[in-house]
Structure formats: C-alpha cells, structure tokens
C-alpha cells in the first residue's frame, strides 16, 4: 500500500509539478514572513501602537470599508440596472464611459478633490465671489476626513461593482423577468425580488474587489489624514523605524483580508444559479420617456462627472498653470522608466501565469491546483504588506551574499536584491499574479483538452504543445492579461514607495510625492499620463469585450 503511494508520489515529481511548487513557494514567501509575525512578540513601539493607535486604525478601516461598500453597491448596481434594462439618450456611451473612473487612482482623486474644494481654488473662488457662499476651509464639506475618504473611494471604485453586475445582467435570460411580470410584479418589485437576489454573487464579488482596493490604499488615506491599517504600517515602518511592529500590523491586516474572503464565499453560499440554455433570450431594454428619461441620464452622468470628469479637468487646469518646460529630459526618463517597468512586470506575470496554468492542466493533480491558487493570493494582500514582507528577507539575503563573498563596504556587489529593481518586480509579481492567472485561465478554459491530447498523442512534449498548439489560441487572453497588469503596475503606489531602488521614480510615486510636498500643480503631468494610459486601456478592453462577447 505504502509502496504504491510512494510510487504515485514519485511519478508526480516532474517539471510540471515542481515548477508550480517552486513558484508558489517563492511567491508565497512574503505572505509567510508576514503571517509568522502574528506570533512574534511585539516591542516597545508595538505596545505604543496597541495602546494608542490600534483602535483608531480598526475603527477607521472598518468604517471606510462599510461606507465605501454600501455606496459602491448602491451606485454600481443602480447604474448596471438602468443601463441594462432601459434605453435613453446617450445610454450606449454611458455603458462604457461610466467605467472611466477606474483609470483614476484613488490618491490622485484625493489630492485633486482637495484642490478643487479648497479655499484658494478657482471653484471655491467662484462660489465665494459670485454666489456669496463661503463654507470654511473646504467647499461644502471637509474632504480631509473619514467621510471625505469614503466619498473619494466610492467615486473611483464603483466601476468594479458596475462592470461585474452589468456583465451578469447581460447574461440574464429575459424569461425570469417576464415570468415575474406575468405573475403580477411591477418592474420595481421584479427588480427587488428577482433581479437583485439573482445578482447577489456578482455584486458580492464586485464589492470584494472594492474592499480589497480600499484596504490596499495608502496614498489617499495618507493625504486625507485618515488613520487606517495601511497608514499604520507605513508609520511603524518609516516613522518609528520598527519592522516588527509594521509586520505585526500587516499580519492583522492579512487576517482581515482572509476573513473577508471567507465571508464572501459563505455569502455566496451553495446556491446555484443555472441558466436554462433552451430558453435563453437576451433582455430587451425598455424605452424611457419624459422625466424618467432625463433622470436616467442624470443618474448616469453624475458618477461619471464626480469620478472622472471633474478631477481630470482640474488636473488639466493645473497643467496650464505650470511653467512650460516640465516636459523635459527628466520627465521623459520618468515616463520611460514607468512604462518599461510596467511592461517588464506585465510580461513576467503573464509568462509565470502561463506556466502555472499549464502545469495545472498537465499535472492533473489536485495538490498542484491548490498550490497555484495559493500563489495568486497576492492580489488580496495590500501592497504595503507585500513590500514589507519582501524587504526584510531580501536585505538579509543581500548582506549574507556580500558577507559570503567577503566584500568590503564600498566594493563588492552591493545590495543586488533589495537595492535594485529585482525586489520591486518580484513585489509586482506577487501582487498581480492573480490578474494574469485569471485571464490566462479563462483563455485556457475555452481550449478543449482534446486538442492537447491529440497533440500529445502525436508525439509533442507538453512544452511543445504549449508553444505550438495552445499559445496561438491564447493570444487574446495573453494580450488582455498584459494590458491589465500593465495598468495595475503603472498605478501602483504603496508597494512601489517602499521597494523602489533609490533614485528611481515612477509616474505614481512622483505625482504622489509632489502632492505631499504641497507642490500639487507639478504633479499634474505625471497624474495625467497615468489617467490617459488607464483610459486607453479601459476603452481598449471594453472594445474587446463588446466585440468578443454579445
């Protein structure tokens, strides 16, 4: 018996099981380092944090998550329902335009709004001089606060809920709603009692993404002065200089993240929502007239205005305030640094994803699937946590390498891991592997296994099969994966701030640092390039979706 099991295990040791194992371990290393610190005793700084700041971290983080979650659900689902169910002027444009706030990183939205609503802004000036309205330091409400943060996050993150809910609605059969109507329900009741419950898994999935983004953010909460967990991690790491405290906070944050994931899975429940193939009919949107028509337009326009148009207009206005000459060699280096870094990281992510997904298909052992899933956990983990979890082993490794070679200070290889782009790119890999993985996986799911089996039976090795048979069919998924990771890396802030080698700035860090240094108009060029790239990506992806799908 035991012999047979051992033999089974031994035959399981080939490169298609070992590669994912090694990759998973490598990528899981930061998670491991952080989790271990749950059990490490904290020092004096940790005591200080627990005594004075932990409650406000917990409270603020929770309040932020709940507030943002609620508003994004309301906004996203409402928009998805309106745009799917009805026809009104501009609806086809709103269908994709409403996604645009995704191109705007939260930290840019934060300082842009602080600028728009601030006492010395032209907008406030208009209200003050022309309309005679003066409401203290900020127009209407103090944006440097928890409610302000909830507003900012909701405005830029609702598209996650919208996109997912809309895709879900698009796949809905009209028969359900027609059945509901024929049994006497008004459209509103039909919406509440049939549509919403059926869309629950989609909505929950969307909210999960929103909450992950909120937990991950550092730039916006730092600027707005809201003490969340990620702020705490940065403060402990940099201001107090205590790595242990930072890691312990990261560990607690990880616990919250895991709880969220478990919550999501349990809320989804065991319910199955099956679509009846034979009776599938796409929904026919109802035409709206009169006031309903225009209120629908208004409801769609407002999030677009608040979440994208206003901030972008303000940034462009700041651009014109600058002295010409910001578009210099330094700036071009910044742009090319960011783009090449993002491209390199995206390609690496996609290649690793490809290997992982293919290993799962080849190995056919459940353990491999589990391992690869584990290595995609990085997306759920805030960038600051990953950075802190990477920095320490890498620096130790660096010093060990130098000591091994016996190099004297000043000479020798120096900090080849922690001091170069290696740490940063590894951090991106850990964090964004999930993005590449899911895209590649969905691409593979459309390739019938029989193609591979035919190829294998005709003599091709698994690797050759991958290259010659699968790859040409996967071009679409690979392209979308590269685009998505590229954009994510370009926008990424917390991980980059901690792990970047010295003298290396990205568009994201540069614009953030300018904002923190109170040189806000100077942050506009970098910010606008990020947003422009994001917009192009959103438009590109949307075109690909609509052409490829329904």
């Amino acid at each position: 018996m035991l012999n047979r099991n051992i033999r089974q295990y031994l035959t399981g040791i080939n490169r298609w099981t070992m590669i994912p194992l090694l990759l998973a371990l490598l990528v899981g290393l930061p998670v491991l380092v952080v989790t271990l610190h749950l059990f490490v005793p904290g020092g004096e700084v940790w005591q200080h944090i627990v005594g004075n700041m932990l409650t406000s971290y917990v409270f603020n983080t929770l309040a932020l998550m709940i507030g943002t979650g609620l508003i994004t659900v309301l906004t996203g689902v409402l928009l998805a329902w309106l745009i799917t169910m009805f026809t009104f002027p501009g609806r086809n444009i709103f269908a994709w335009a409403v996604i645009l706030p995704l191109a705007l990183p939260a930290y840019i939205a934060a300082y842009t709004y602080a600028g728009i609503l601030g006492y010395t802004s032209p907008v406030y000036g208009f209200f003050r001089e022309t309309l005679g309205i003066e409401t203290r330091q900020f127009l209407f409400f103090n944006i440097l606060s928890l409610p302000g943060a909830i507003f900012i996050f909701s405005m830029v993150l609702y598209p996650y809920v919208y996109v997912i809910t809309r895709s879900y609605f698009l796949q809905q059969s009209a028969t359900f709603l027609e059945a509901s109507a024929s049994l006497g329900n008004s459209p509103l009741r039909g919406y509440c009692q049939v549509v919403l419950p059926m869309a629950r898994p989609a909505i929950i999935g969307g909210v999960l993404l929103v909450l992950m983004e909120v937990l991950n953010d550092y730039g916006a909460v730092r600027y707005l002065g809201v003490d969340t967990f990620s702020m705490g991690i940065f403060t402990a790491w940099f201001s107090f200089g205590d790595a242990t405290a930072a890691l312990k906070l990261s560990a607690y944050l990880l616990v919250v993240v895991f709880l969220l994931i478990i919550l999501e899975r349990s809320l989804r429940g065991k319910a199955h929502y099956d679509f009846l193939d034979t009776q599938y009919r796409p929904l026919k949107p109802k035409v709206l007239y009169g006031w309903k028509q225009w209120s629908a337009v208004a409801i769609c326009f407002i999030p677009l205005l608040l979440g994208f148009l206003l901030p972008v207009l303000q940034l462009i206005a700041w651009l014109f305030q600058l002295e010409p000459g910001y578009w210099n060699m330094q700036f071009l280096t910044l742009v090319s640094n960011s783009f090449f870094l993002a491209l390199g990281a995206a390609l690496l992510c996609v290649v690793v994803s490809l290997l992982l997904v293919y290993s799962v298909r080849v190995a056919k052992i459940p353990a491999v699937k589990l391992l690869t899933r584990f290595s995609t956990l990085g997306y759920a983990i805030p960038g600051a946590v990953i950075a802190v979890g990477i920095m320490i082993p890498f620096t130790r490794a660096d010093h060990a390498i130098n000591n091994l070679i016996g190099a004297s200070p000043g000479a020798g290889p120096g900090l080849i891991l922690s001091g170069t782009l290696v740490a940063l790119i590894f951090g991106y890999l850990v964090r964004f592997l999930a993005v590449g993985y899911n895209s590649v996986e969905s691409g593979f799911s459309r390739i019938s296994p029989s193609l591979e089996e035919a190829s294998r039976s005709l003599g091709y090795s698994p690797f050759k099969t991958l290259m010659r048979v699968n790859l040409p069919l996967l071009r679409g998924s690979l392209l979308s994966a590269v685009i998505l990771v590229f954009i994510d890396v370009l926008k990424e802030l917390p991980l980059t701030l901690i792990l970047r080698p010295f003298n290396f700035d990205t568009l994201a860090t540069k614009s953030f640092v300018f904002a923190i240094d109170e040189r806000i108009p100077e942050s506009a060029p970098a910010a606008l390039i990020i947003i422009a790239t994001g917009t192009v990506a959103v438009a590109l992806l949307n075109r690909l979706i609509t052409k490829g799908k329904l």
């Binding site: 203290r136 330091q137 999960l208 010093h399 799911s445 071009r475 979308s480």
Partner: protein, 370 residues
C-alpha cells in the same frame, strides 16, 4: 458556449468577467510569441543601466525645493562634480541608510529638523568632521556639539493669527495657545509632524515635563477642529474662518505671500505674526542640516558641497527664494526676512531638544493631540 452558463465561483466569475475576454485571434496585432519574447528581452538592459564613473557625490535629501536642485546644478558647473540627488521622506532615507549599512552609496544626508539628524547620528549612520573651515560663523547651539551634522538654513516656528479677530495683547508666547481665551479658536496640524514634535521638545526643555503636558492639554481643549492638513492649510483655514490662531514655520508664510495663485496671496492679507519673546523663552528655531554619512566614499567632494551650501551666494539664495534664514551668523537678512525683523531666539541647544523628542511624542499621545 455551454461552459459559459455553468456556475463558476464568483471569485473566478468576477475575474472571468473582468479579465476573460473572448477575442478573435485573426484581428490581433501581435504575430507571434516571439515578438513578446523579444520585447521582454528589450526590458532587461534597463535593470543593468549603469552610470559612467565621473567625479560625483551622492546626496540623500528629504528637502523638496527646486532651489536645492538649482544650487546643485551650479555647483556642478563650477567644480565639475556631479551631484546625484536622491529624494525621499526623511524617515525613509534614514530607514534605507540603516538597511544599507556600510554599503550605502550615500555620501551626504541633507534633511530637515535637528531631531532627525540626531536620530541618524544615534543609529550610527553619520561620521563627524573635525573643525571644518566652512563651520565658521555657524551658531553652536544650533549645531551638533560633536560636529556630526551642520546647519545650512534655519526656520522659526511662530504664531500667526487673524489681525481683526484676535487681540494682539492676548498673544504672548506659545503659552497663549493654551489660554482659555482662545477656546475653540486654535488650529493645529497633526502631532505626527516633526515640526510640532520639536517645538514641544523645546518646551519640555524650557519648562519641564509637567508644564509642557499641561500646555499640550490646554491647546487640545482649544482646538477649533481635529488636527488636519499642513502648515499652509492652517493659514488658509484662518482666512476661511475655521479658526483664529495657529503655529506655522516662517518659510511657509514667505511662500504663501509670494505664491503664483492670487487666492493664496490674498489669504496672507489678514494674517499677523508673533515671534515669542525672551520673557516666554524665545522663539523656537530649527534647522535644515547636512551630515557626512558613515559609508561615504567621496568624502572630499562631499565636504566641497557642504562648503558650497554655506557660501554667501547659496545662503542668500535660500533667503530670497525659499524664505529660510541663513545658518551663518555673519550674513544679514534681506527682503521679507528683514521686514519681519530681528527676534529673540531660544538659546537652548537643539541637541538637547532633540533628545526629548520621544518624550514629546508620548505627551502628544496622552494629551489627545492627534
């Protein structure tokens, strides 16, 4: 198409719908995997980008002024020594120096606040320069007593208030901020900011822990709102009516007064300044300082740069463009700084103030000053 309709877990479904895109392979621009591979290889040289070995000096600076970079440029023109400037927050710089240890490429640390320089010294990151020529005319109570760091510019933390809403007779020294007359009228930035921490440390040194604690508690009772924003935000808030009185660093006032934005300039119109006098211990002055790191390799170049920043032209540039007081005592104030006039400087040693920073942080915590 039927696998579309199978139930997939929302986590996968989510990502499937977001990322899973069914494309027509015939319409794609990229021809083959080889293209992607070649593109990837093109990125590799970026990792190994090396700079040519010219005469240089590496500076880690947490200051965020264009003027600094202009000064470094003219230094390079004059001496041919390239200044490699690396900017980051001072906490990050110190953390990095710590982690890099003896292998750090940094030659100089240029940062703000004596407390930070002292922290770097305590961590063993700096080395002393004995009796340098450029340290002539530098105030000894504002320098490190063992010559580990040297001041380059000075700034005073003073009181600013609304000229109509506040009676100048009620403003006398930092203690006034805790005066019940200013209940619900005091605006402050967060205690996390090092300027406030150093000020409280100076007050502890002058008046003792207990009085300093009472002062902090008194100010907190007088808060018009929860601390938020930076120094300039406090001034803007006074103009906007959120409060009447605050503490601010002198150079911010200069920058506001000369801002490009007219709204910002007009904010200063109603603001009056108060430099605490000797009767209440004097005005708290802090420094932007520079230090030689322990790991420095280009020591001679570093000393040349330090000397350059302490020369007449550079000191005057700091005064006229950044509104920072020159560290050198023998240079007369010009422009706006001269308008503000002479003031009573706190004579206590900044080195001793720096030792009390941790205590200050603790007092802020217990007083509830966020």
């Amino acid at each position: 198409m039927s696998d579309y309709k199978k139930h997939i877990s929302p986590a996968t479904n989510t990502s499937f719908l977001l990322f899973g895109i069914n494309l027509n392979p015939n319409k794609l621009p990229l021809k083959s995997f080889r293209t992607i591979f070649i593109l990837a290889c093109l990125c590799i040289p970026a990792f190994f980008a090396c700079t040519p070995e010219t005469d240089h000096v590496n500076v880690y600076s947490s200051r965020h002024y264009q003027l600094d970079e202009d000064l470094f440029d003219s230094f390079e023109k004059e001496t041919g020594i390239k200044v490699n400037l690396v900017k980051a927050g001072s906490d990050q710089l110190i953390k990095r120096l710590e982690l890099e240890g003896r292998r750090s490429p940094a030659d100089l640390l240029f940062t703000v606040d004596a407390g930070r320089l002292d922290q770097a010294r305590d961590l063993g990151l700096l080395q002393a320069i004995k009796n340098p020529a450029f340290a002539e005319n530098l105030p000894s109570h504002l320098s490190d007593p063992d010559e580990y760091w040297f001041p380059v510019t000075l700034r005073a933390r003073i009181i600013a208030y609304h000229k109509d809403r506040v009676d100048p007779n009620q403003v006398s020294g930092y203690e006034s901020l805790a005066d019940p007359a200013f209940k619900n009228r005091v605006l402050m930035r967060s205690s996390e900011n090092v300027y406030n921490q150093s000020l409280l440390a100076a007050l502890i040194l002058r008046n003792g822990t207990e009085e300093a604690e009472n002062w902090a508690k008194g100010v907190v009772t007088n808060f018009a709102r929860r601390p938020s924003g930076n120094d300039r935000d406090q001034i803007t808030s006074i103009a906007a009516g959120d409060g009447d009185i605050t503490m601010v660093n002198t150079y911010y006032l200069g920058l506001l007064k000369n801002a490009a934005n007219t709204a910002e300039r007009s904010v200063m119109e109603n603001i009056h300044l108060h430099f605490p006098g000797t009767e209440s211990g004097g005005t708290h002055v802090n420094v932007s300082g520079i230090a030689l790191t322990n790991s420095a390799v280009n020591v001679e170049n570093a000393k040349k740069l330090m000397a350059y920043l302490l020369r007449d032209e550079a000191q005057k540039a700091f005064m006229n463009h950044n509104f920072e007081y020159p560290a050198r005592r023998d240079i007369e104030t010009e422009g706006l700084l001269r308008e503000w006039g002479a003031f009573d400087e706190d004579p206590s040693s900044l080195y001793e103030v720096a030792q009390l920073r941790n205590q200050a942080i603790r007092i802020f915590s217990s007083a509830g000053w966020r």
